[in-house]
């Protein structure tokens, strides 16, 4: 169930170019959220809330971590918030990634830029379930790389940058051939990356987390739709997603 909650900023740090990490205190969110869900954050002075993925949860501490990139006026305002301040969120929102219970599986995480955050909490959770996790994470340049060590704690981690200034050079899809065997993939990132991944991994079971501009964020306004594959219908990203089976949606 989605609540309207106040979240207090326990810490705030810039972890890469234009990229902010915030650890937020709130019992409801930290106890209820599952990997892949998001927070719908109210930014004063802005009509619409901003959807930001949950990047980590510490249930004991009652904290939720988010990572976001400053891309416009809303995230810019949000970035100016300091420790001790609070903001209003709706959450936890949407459906998360399905967590199957079969052990011994190998899971591939494919993240691009600011699509990386939801995969962090997902991978950590999968690893705790005993799965083998491989992460291929793409960033623009070395200045944009974040959370490499955090992923290394639970995953075999490969970094790619567009310009080769850190890790491998190119796109995440360039590495997929070299990864070895895996059972399922989970991906989040810019649309062209998702399209390329889906195309390249048609034979695999995969889950995709999507982004779209939102109105309500709870399924009432029909703003955030994605065409359903094989029908003339739509799914709502905020309510039916943001995570979908790869074959379920037409990218």
């Amino acid at each position: 169930m989605i609540n309207k909650e106040n979240m207090y900023i326990q810490s705030r740090e810039q972890i890469a170019e234009d990229t902010i990490e915030m650890v937020l205190e709130n019992q409801w969110i930290s106890q209820k959220a599952v990997p892949g869900q998001f927070l719908h954050i109210s930014v004063p002075g802005h009509t619409l809330r901003r959807p930001i993925s949950i990047a980590d949860i510490n249930k004991d501490a009652g904290t939720t971590t988010i990572l976001f990139k400053i891309t416009g006026s809303g995230t810019e305002s949000l970035a100016a918030y300091q420790q001790g301040m609070s903001f209003d969120v709706l959450g936890p929102s949407g459906n998360g990634f399905p967590l199957t219970n079969e052990r011994e599986q190998t899971i591939l995480l494919i993240g691009g830029g600011i699509g990386v955050p939801p995969l962090h909490y997902l991978g950590k959770t999968l690893a705790e379930q005993g799965k083998h996790v491989i992460a291929v994470l793409g960033f623009q340049t070395d200045r944009h790389v974040f959370y490499e060590t955090e992923f290394q704690e639970f995953a075999e981690t490969y970094i790619v940058t567009d310009d080769g200034s850190y890790g491998a050079s190119g796109f995440v899809t360039d590495l997929l051939g070299d990864i070895g065997e895996f059972d399922q993939y989970y991906t989040c990132g810019p649309l062209p990356m998702l399209q390329a991944v889906k195309k390249q991994l048609t034979d695999k079971e995969g889950y995709i987390s999507l982004e779209e501009r939102m109105g309500c964020g709870i399924g009432a306004c029909f703003a955030c739709v994605i065409p359903e594959a094989g029908t003339s219908g739509y799914r709502k990203i905020c309510k039916d997603g943001p995570v979908f089976r790869a074959e379920e949606v037409a990218l």
Partner: protein, 306 residues
């Protein structure tokens, strides 16, 4: 005790506040936040003759104190709505208004007729901002003659009172209001969104896939107040006012300008509790300004009603 109740054709409202069409779906999502019986009424999302899939995305954009939307009337079609959505709302103690849309007079009539077969819808809100396919895309909502024609046709097809929802994108809102009053409208609903656009700088194209969209939110409130004030002096049917309401003070502003009841749209997205919060605050705000009922506030700011 401040009396919040309002009696309108077909609608016995315990308070004057209802969610606006398209901003509340069919109530399901908001029912998880609060009991819908607290509302004055519920206006459902637009229903069309058959299912519509709407526009491509992006469908919304943010603007200064407002937003643009171009959802494109996505809805499962009137039959499905009557089958699955209306019964859900019938479980609450709240009047239900069906917003109806179409591309031809015949489609409007068909949708209106369909709602004759349920007892759980209490009024129609006729959305005349849709382009008329037959007339080459001309809007019903900007031509008094066409607006009157579709009003009359829907009135003939329906046993329910018909509230006509006026578009603000016109030179002369009072003529539109008078035309639909003469055509038999039981009431007016105003205003729908202003036609607007945002350019996306990186792509150098309109941001919304549809190009233009409807502007809503606090930005348009002064336009809504002006139009209601103007119309109130020229028609005798009740007005459901809307456009940028976010607070009980805003509601009072609409009442003073001539609204009998109000609808809250965009503000639901910022705060899902906005309707019940406004309803709770309204008695105190009326009291502050020395008014003891919603009915007494209606039109108080309009010269002929003072």
């Amino acid at each position: 005790m401040t009396d919040l109740s309002v009696q309108l054709p077909g609608l016995n409202l315990k308070n004057p506040v209802m969610p606006a069409s398209g901003c509340f779906g069919f109530g399901r999502e908001y029912s998880e936040f609060y009991d819908l019986s607290r509302l004055g009424a519920v206006i459902m999302k637009a229903a069309t003759g058959t299912a519509r899939y709407g526009n491509s995305t992006p469908r919304v954009a943010e603007t200064a104190s407002g937003m643009l939307n171009a959802i494109g009337l996505q809805n499962p079609g009137v039959e499905k709505i009557i089958e699955t959505e209306v019964p859900f709302l019938a479980d609450y103690d709240v009047p239900v208004i069906a917003n109806i849309a179409g591309s031809t007079v015949e489609e409007y009539q068909k949708v209106a007729e369909a709602f004759n077969h349920t007892d759980d819808v209490h009024a129609l809100e006729l959305n005349i901002s849709c382009p008329n396919v037959k007339e080459g895309g001309l809007q019903f909502g900007t031509d008094p003659g066409m607006a009157a024609e579709v009003t009359q046709a829907v009135k003939q097809a329906s046993r329910l009172p018909v509230y006509v929802k006026l578009s603000p994108n016109v030179s002369d809102i009072a003529s539109m209001a008078k035309a639909v009053e003469d055509a038999g409208a039981a009431g007016l609903s105003m205003i729908n969104t202003l036609s607007g656009m945002q350019m996306d700088l990186p792509s150098k194209k309109p941001l919304l896939a549809n190009g233009t969209g409807g502007l809503s939110g606090p930005a348009i409130k002064p336009v809504a107040i002006r139009m209601i004030y103007e119309v109130k002096q020229q028609v005798n049917i009740p007005i459901i006012g809307m456009g940028g309401i976010t607070s009980a003070e805003d509601v009072l502003e609409f009442l003073l300008a001539g609204a009998d009841a109000v609808a809250v749209g965009t503000a639901n997205f910022q705060n899902p509790f906005v309707c019940p919060e406004i309803i709770e605050k309204l008695p105190e705000v009326l009291h502050t300004y020395g008014i003891d009922s919603v009915k007494a506030a209606t039109g108080k700011g309009v010269p002929i009603y003072e």
